[in-house]
Symmetry: C2
DNA sequence: CGGCCTTATTTGTAATACATAATTACCTTA
DNA sequence: TAAGGTAATTATGTATTACAAATAAGGCCG
């Protein structure tokens, strides 16, 4: 389930290696990286590959290069915190509870708003997609089927908002959260406990009742917050 | 006010040039770019510079390069929609009303939630910062002073949430919106009309009343939505 | 002492050569 | 003839070298 992110390109490996070091705090903000020539030699890559990697890290706001001065790690306020890689590196290096809280907080902001927007604007096709996902949840025979359908449900709601910014945000947050948790999963015995919540959201979206959808989704995320459990570090 | 984004690096210019073309739709998703050698020659840069630029665009999810196949523009679902550059390119090329609506929608989701979170968690220093910004708004003698203080107020609230993901999201959205609008500005005559709204938010944050802060901020953004006006394309 | 200029150092850009992977076409073989 | 493998082709990937440009630092000169 956890993808190893096997980067095929050499510069991609360098990006991840340096990115992890920086976000992980092993190279602190304000600190300078070694000269390109040295660093390249030390990492056993050409200066070309190293530079391509550094341009990517620059684009993510992690570093800043200037002639003569060298390349230095920028302050965290400049980091692209919403970049998928940056988030992944944080997840890998900062297993503190408060970061998870921040991710959960974002999720709890987005989802009710998305439900409301979906109820306001969904097309018949988008409603059908939510409906299909709901039926799959209702029919799920295993925890695996359930979680797959559950994710599909939330994605369908997001798509129904017709706001790709919201979709993108949710996607990034959800991926990062997935590193830590099995979302909304109780025991295998009653993994369908939240089905009524989902039904209320679905119905509200069908009837185009934004506030009802918002409240239903709010209750769902509040309820699920206490039920998410730490994933084993397998 | 509108920064021309004069990129000093050559590859940075190439990034913006290609990024604009792609996001602007002049090079459609699925379409292949010319071979690196050809494209470099056509843009009057070395293959080295072009490749550094392409790595950045890859990191933003806009393109995908594979050996033999070439480099092709990826589908929009893979774009890093929350990347500052990608947003800027969209703003520059897609002046349709519905995109502005999406930005405003995001803002209206974030701000009330931020106000609530700020009321819950703000430190004395963070409260002081909000307070300072409010006083500056109250004392503003010109529309310019007002808008500066207004932005400082909202930034202070965001910082008080202690959630850098929210801060980053707001920052990106606000920058993009700034391309289009003078936010919350009425006529020069009564530019302080929203001061009472701000006071309610400030007081709620001071008294640690999350729901009050949320509602006050909600009223403020709803009120301001109808008062934002199109900026002249100066 | 202060301002200007030279110099040294680091990143920026270019050009070239070759490696690698993936597609395509051909060629072998049952 | 069709299936399969194999070699040629062609794009990006990587390495190396050389030089340009910017700028911090130190020395020179007024």
């Amino acid at each position: 389930m956890v993808k190893p992110v096997t980067v095929r390109n050499l510069h991609g490996q360098v990006v991840h290696e340096l990115g992890r070091l920086i976000v992980g705090g092993e190279i602190a903000p304000g600190q300078n990286l070694p000269r390109e020539e040295l660093l390249a030699e030390r990492m056993n890559v050409s200066r070309t590959a190293l530079r391509e990697a550094m341009k990517v890290l620059s684009a993510k706001g992690l570093i800043e290069s200037r002639q003569k001065t060298g390349t230095r790690v920028r302050d965290t306020v400049h980091w692209n915190q919403l970049d998928a890689d940056v988030l992944a590196w944080r997840c890998a290096s900062m297993p503190t509870e408060d970061f998870v809280e921040k991710l959960v907080e974002m999720r709890e902001i987005i989802e009710p708003a998305a439900a409301a927007a979906a109820a306001r604007r969904r097309s018949p096709e988008q409603l059908a997609r939510v409906d299909t996902a709901y039926e799959a949840m209702a029919a799920a025979a295993s925890l695996d089927d359930w979680t797959t359908a559950d994710l599909a449900f939330h994605e369908a709601v997001l798509h129904a908002t017709q706001n790709e910014l919201m979709i993108s945000l949710f996607s990034v947050i959800e991926t990062a959260l997935g590193t830590y948790f099995v979302l909304s999963a109780r025991t295998a015995g009653d993994f369908k406990y939240s089905l009524p919540h989902h039904k209320k959201v679905l119905d509200a979206i069908r009837r185009r009742q934004p506030e009802v959808a918002r409240q239903a989704m709010t209750r769902m995320v509040i309820d699920s917050r206490s039920n998410i459990r730490r994933r084993g570090k397998s």
